[in-house]
Point group: C4
Chain length 215, copies 4
């Protein structure tokens, strides 16, 4: 795979690592992140060990953490799904694309931190906005990968439909950095609205594609 090493300025430089391995590394990171998320929810400490009432109260107080966890869980599943769809269009990887993918993994592996932060401080505007900002940067990483493929379409799969790909790129800007940016802004006005926005973005991607494309 990708044996040629032509290197004119701006031309894709061969990476020497197959697409399948990068996909496996990414899959590993997604599987680990999705499973680690729950570790940020700690078992509450309750004085009266056998008191149902005390434990019920402590568990209810964790509600914002459970909500953050479910939103992030669904979001990472969406990342996984979109990552696979994108990679199925890629024919070969160059060095830039590898590192743009690493950038996506960086933000994805960071998700447990903003999730825990938002779960711990659900009423703090900065905490809720921080979550949306990280997600916007993660979504931007997708846009940058698509941009690289748009500029060097020799990296695309041979049979790939260029026009369809361009439409997808445009959509990935709106239902990505822009949507999360709106959520992050809403957090400064009314934090619960930002929660709803983050959940809505995940739900949008959970819906089947045909339902989405038909208005």
């Amino acid at each position: 795979m990708s044996v040629a090493t032509e290197a004119r300025a701006g031309e894709p430089v061969s990476l020497g690592v197959s697409k399948g391995r990068v996909e496996a590394l990414s899959d590993g990171v997604f599987a680990i992140v999705v499973t680690l998320l729950v570790l940020e929810i700690k078992v509450p400490h309750v004085g009266a060990h056998d008191s149902v009432r005390a434990l019920a109260g402590a568990l209810l107080a964790l509600a914002p953490k459970f909500v953050s966890w479910v939103i992030s869980f669904a979001t990472v599943c969406v990342i996984w799904l979109n990552h696979h769809r994108l990679f199925s269009r890629i024919g070969r990887l160059d060095n830039a694309l590898f590192w743009l993918n690493a950038n996506l993994l960086l933000w994805t592996s960071f998700i447990p931190f903003p999730t825990a932060l938002m779960g711990d401080y659900p009423g703090n505007r900065l905490a809720v906005s921080f979550y949306g900002t990280v997600m916007a940067l993660m979504a931007l990483a997708f846009v940058l990968m698509r941009w690289r493929l748009h500029c060097h379409d020799r990296l695309l799969q041979d049979g790939a439909d260029r026009e369809l790909f361009r439409q997808g790129t445009r959509r990935s800007i709106w239902m990505g950095p822009v949507a999360y940016g709106i959520g992050a802004s809403l957090a400064w006005v009314f934090p619960p609205a930002a929660f709803a926005c983050y959940a809505a973005i995940a739900i949008y991607f959970v819906l089947p594609r045909d339902a989405r494309t038909k208005p």
Copy 2:
């Protein structure tokens, strides 16, 4: 795999991701959960560092955590096994089935929390019942996947025996949400009985299939 994109109302919508990749993601989550479970058992703090007696007492006090851990470990192995048997019957995945599988992964990845909770509060009725409730929801996720396959049997493997599959679905309701629901109810009467019930469900699945089907 699954190239067609027919989208009549209620019909399976093509996912664009192969079954093998979803299986690999699920396997990753199962392997991580099964290994993370032990992280919830923390090394006890003992004042007299070299005192065998003090450390023995501290380790014995962890007994409920060890019991919870072993039950959850066996349960996740059972989930892995049943997941593989179910996937071996699936021919292709649609969007709904992907998200029903994600729902199973959500509950499975949550298991470390109720395991630690039950291990920390083995005498608290709510903690022990909470464990059974989470497991019932996990088992319900299996039933929902089977239900989807039952309603859209074009998603099943070509040679799959429909009648056998229907029997398996019926059994998955009884030895799933119903059995765990009974355990969660028992917890309100006598917590140790619930522990026994959760362990018994795991043991049922550990037994060879022929021993189970013959009454």
Copy 3:
């Protein structure tokens, strides 16, 4: 793979899951355990943030934890290696073999706990003996798998040399439960001798096979 479902008493019962998947699950668990081990070494808290002397003292105090970690790291690598060699001899898995393998994974995934315990209490006879006991049970899990294969040699790879396999089984008893049992006993007399014993067992397996078989 393994389609037949004959079920005479004591005969291997077909599992319905391929050997490759069980190997992948086991590999996942080994990779995760080997990487999680370091999480048990916590960054020390030092009052004077920029004091080299204070931090050096705190890091030196962690020495037993570093030693435990290296021994366990090497041991898990050995488990991985021996697991692969054993699986390369297996032709197909039955239900009993799957659960005997799950038993091995249980003890292997438990290793971070005794490692942290021995690292925290290196002078406590119980802590050091506990480590050896867990390792003995892990090694016993290997012996039990080999025993199952010995009794039902239809599960072995077709071309496998039965006599060579029997020799390996005998050796796995000595350089397994027996050797770790000796280490666990030594801990009650002189803990550092047990550390040396655990390290020696790992080193024995690190040496090339020919060097080992030639006395």
Copy 4:
């Protein structure tokens, strides 16, 4: 793969495990380490839950941890990339090579500890130097693997260019143990210079290969 078991003194001894499995184990470890790194960044505790100012201050105080995390993240990606390039040149593994690879995994899996240490004590010369020392030992592990392949070039891929491999080995000494050694030394003079050095080494490897080889 590698069936022969010739064992003259110093000759490669057959391992009995395929190269692909060792690669999969290594990939698993890299994926887990890269994802675990973020777990060392704990959500800060702030008294006034809804105070934006207090939380902003607490997050800014974490800046050194974020910087350490990004440097380590990029470094592990570089390790992954270099590991793949090296393995693509290997034809078969012997026992020594397996354990030299395990040595690389040991230092790589250790990275979360020095990363957290440097993030917690960014102004402590020992902490910052410790990070570089661990990285130098990790890089040395690569050199040792290359050395083994250099001495026993029967282990190399059949078509591999010996001269090119020798050049790579020489470069791996300079842009490995030597460069990190310089960083670790700089830490004793001026810690921020060491941070810059560690980042520069990662950036060197992020650049496309052709840009690097042309001076």
